[in-house]
């Protein structure tokens, strides 16, 4: 097998630590946290070879990994841009203009919901309630919550993300102004 993905030694160490959180023989519990690590490690999505690698390090059958990865909405089973924009679309955000925010981003980036920009930087996704209803409308990119969105705020966030050009993950440091 060519280009078989491998975890760096540091991540393997972390995986061992995660496995030690559960009683002997119950290491399957490490699956969700390890899938998050794998996704952050391998370009923001879980390819079949990456899921097979997770199965190998956790001593699981590959099907046990696939069935979990396909159940939860945070695991991407297709490639995504460096910055996955997850815009909340549920009631409280909708009441405060989430639809307009989605349309604005679509127009600005020239993509529809679910698509990735040609330069591979942005993917736009709408998601269900992220628990930021009091600071609606909002979107999340990596671990960062961007709240009280306005068109101007969206402009500056997208500009900032584009100029950084870095892949955003759930393990990023975040700025928390509101909370």
């Amino acid at each position: 097998m060519e280009n078989k993905p491998q975890f760096p030694a540091e991540t393997l160490k972390l995986i061992q630590e995660i496995k030690s959180r559960y009683p002997e023989g119950k290491q399957k519990s490490a699956l969700l946290p390890v899938l998050h690590l794998a996704q952050a490690e391998f370009d923001g999505w879980l390819s079949v070879p990456v899921m097979d690698l997770v199965a190998e390090v956790l001593d699981l059958d590959p099907i046990e990994v696939y069935e979990v990865a396909s159940f939860y909405s945070m695991y991407n089973l297709k490639p995504v841009g460096k910055c996955l924009l997850e815009v909340c679309r549920t009631s409280s955000c909708w009441l405060r203009g989430a639809e307009e925010i989605v349309h604005y981003i679509e127009k600005k980036l020239g993509i529809r919901e679910g698509e990735t920009t040609a330069d591979g930087i942005f993917t736009l996704k709408t998601v269900e309630c992220l628990g930021s209803c009091g600071t609606a409308p909002m979107m999340m990119c990596g671990a960062q919550f961007h709240e009280n969105l306005t068109f101007e705020k969206v402009d500056s966030i997208l500009e900032q993300l584009k100029s950084e050009g870095k892949r955003k993950t759930y393990f990023d440091e975040v700025v928390t102004d509101h909370y």
């Binding site: 009683p23 399957k28 549920t90 009631s91 009441l95 269900e128 930021s132 209803c133």
Partner: protein, 437 residues
């Protein structure tokens, strides 16, 4: 003067860190419980307090704790439900990010009461930054000797870990959460057996919401009777309310249970009235799952009494004219809101989040979303209103977990209280179509 128990120290700079938290009375409940009380006595205080589950179900916490099976030689677990996903609810995120140590302290005191030596906080994956805040707080607690082996020289050991979810509303249901903690899909289990008998890895387990666990801290510090003095009747203590929607001051408010709904919406102390001086149209008082009520019924009961923020008062009138306190996710809608469109939004949510295990929910939520999509986009027919009504009735009560009910109630209540709007939605289309022809 409103009494605050969980957010009393919210204004203190640096309260997120261990030193400041400890200086302001933090971890006293652990000292008190472990040095002066037996685990049974702690359970007794929680029973006396009248504390009810703050995640949404409102089940008495002390009673839930007393159901925990204690077979010889089998480990017991405490799992904190921080999977906060009920639309309109963001209080747990607020509490965990502002005062993470109150949850850690509550977990230690509660684990001691239940005889758990390993406990987990299951946090929804989207709150990854909260996970890091909690992990830091846990490290600080270990360093200060509140966690680990032989805590305070009592011989009691406790390890505490944070577990991330993967993005699934259903994992807020306690048995789905346990499945997820075991590294599986979040499919709810059939009850019985209840988690108190057979929970995570088949062992006796208590699952409690973040706010419930945090409330154990003041209950142990001040005594259950003192806690029970706050509130009205069986709604004791304080409650975190997440206020959102068309209001001037959205945010998290700690209220003494019993505040009039009208005061909560209009006073400067809380929501500060309706945005842009518009009129109030409707409120979803306890997270998206509870029945929506029109302005007149949320402010006053059908009998004309002032509606209060308590479990009982909000439920007054049953589902015919009442609702539920639920998670305290208080969504306010002004006169410009389309109830039909909001319902489509909710229906899409439940369809997206149904785990797919039970046919009535898997198929029914899809149908409801489709019909409402049709209505909202101008292709509805009069018979669709009856079809929606029929569908929700066939889901309610016919599924393993309450997600089915949670998907049905918003539909039933919206049609019950706003039927005219559905009729207009269908009518308008007929008129438009006739003009086109």
């Amino acid at each position: 003067m409103v009494r605050k128990l969980l957010l009393a120290n919210d204004h203190i700079p640096g309260i997120q860190g261990y030193e400041v938290y400890r200086k302001n009375g933090g971890y006293k409940s652990v000292e008190k419980a472990m040095k002066t009380m037996t685990p049974e006595a702690v359970v007794e205080e929680v029973k006396k307090s009248g504390l009810r589950g703050r995640g949404g179900a409102g089940f008495p916490t002390g009673m839930k704790w007393s159901f925990l099976a204690k077979p010889e030689g089998v480990p017991r677990y405490l799992v904190c439900n921080a999977d906060e996903s009920e639309p309109g609810t963001f209080k747990d995120r607020y509490l965990m990010s502002r005062i993470p140590h109150i949850l850690i302290e509550g977990m230690i005191t509660s684990s001691f009461a239940l005889g758990a030596n390993t406990s987990y906080i299951y946090v929804r994956g989207e709150y990854y930054y909260i996970i890091r805040i909690l992990e830091k707080a846990i490290q600080e607690a270990y360093a200060a000797g509140w966690l680990g082996k032989n805590i305070l020289g009592t011989g009691y050991n406790l390890d505490l870990y944070v577990q991330p979810g993967g993005g699934a509303y259903i994992c807020g249901e306690e048995t789905a959460l346990l499945e997820s903690l075991e590294g599986k899909r979040g499919n709810p289990r059939i009850k019985p057996p209840f988690p108190a008998v057979k929970g995570v890895w088949g062992c006796p387990t208590v699952v409690n919401n973040v706010e419930t666990i945090a409330a154990v801290v003041p209950i142990v510090n001040d005594g259950g009777e003192e806690y029970a003095k706050i509130g009205i009747g069986r709604s004791t203590g304080t409650k975190l309310i997440s206020a959102s929607g068309h209001i001037n001051k959205p945010g998290v408010y700690e209220i003494e249970l019993g505040v009039p709904v009208e005061e909560f919406i209009y006073s400067e102390q809380y929501c500060g009235g309706i945005l842009n001086n518009r009129k109030l149209k409707a409120v979803v008082a306890g997270g998206s799952s509870v029945p929506i009520l029109p302005a007149d019924l949320i402010l006053k009961t059908a009998a004309g009494e002032n509606r209060l923020m308590t479990y009982e008062s909000l439920a007054e009138g049953g589902f015919a004219s009442g609702t539920m306190l639920g998670s305290g996710g208080f969504i306010v809608m002004d006169e410009s809101t389309s109830i039909v469109k909001n319902l489509w939004n909710f229906a899409r949510f439940y369809h997206h989040e149904s785990c797919g295990q039970c046919s009535p929910c898997r198929e029914g939520t899809g149908w409801m979303e489709k019909i409402l999509h049709k209505m909202v986009h101008g292709h509805g027919e009069t018979k669709d209103i009856e079809l929606l009504w029929d569908l929700q009735r066939k889901i309610e009560g016919n599924t393993i977990c309450p997600l089915g009910d949670a998907a049905a109630w918003p539909v039933a209540s919206a049609i019950r209280h706003f039927r005219q709007e559905f009729e207009e939605c269908v009518m308008e289309e007929k008129i438009k179509n006739s003009i086109q022809f």
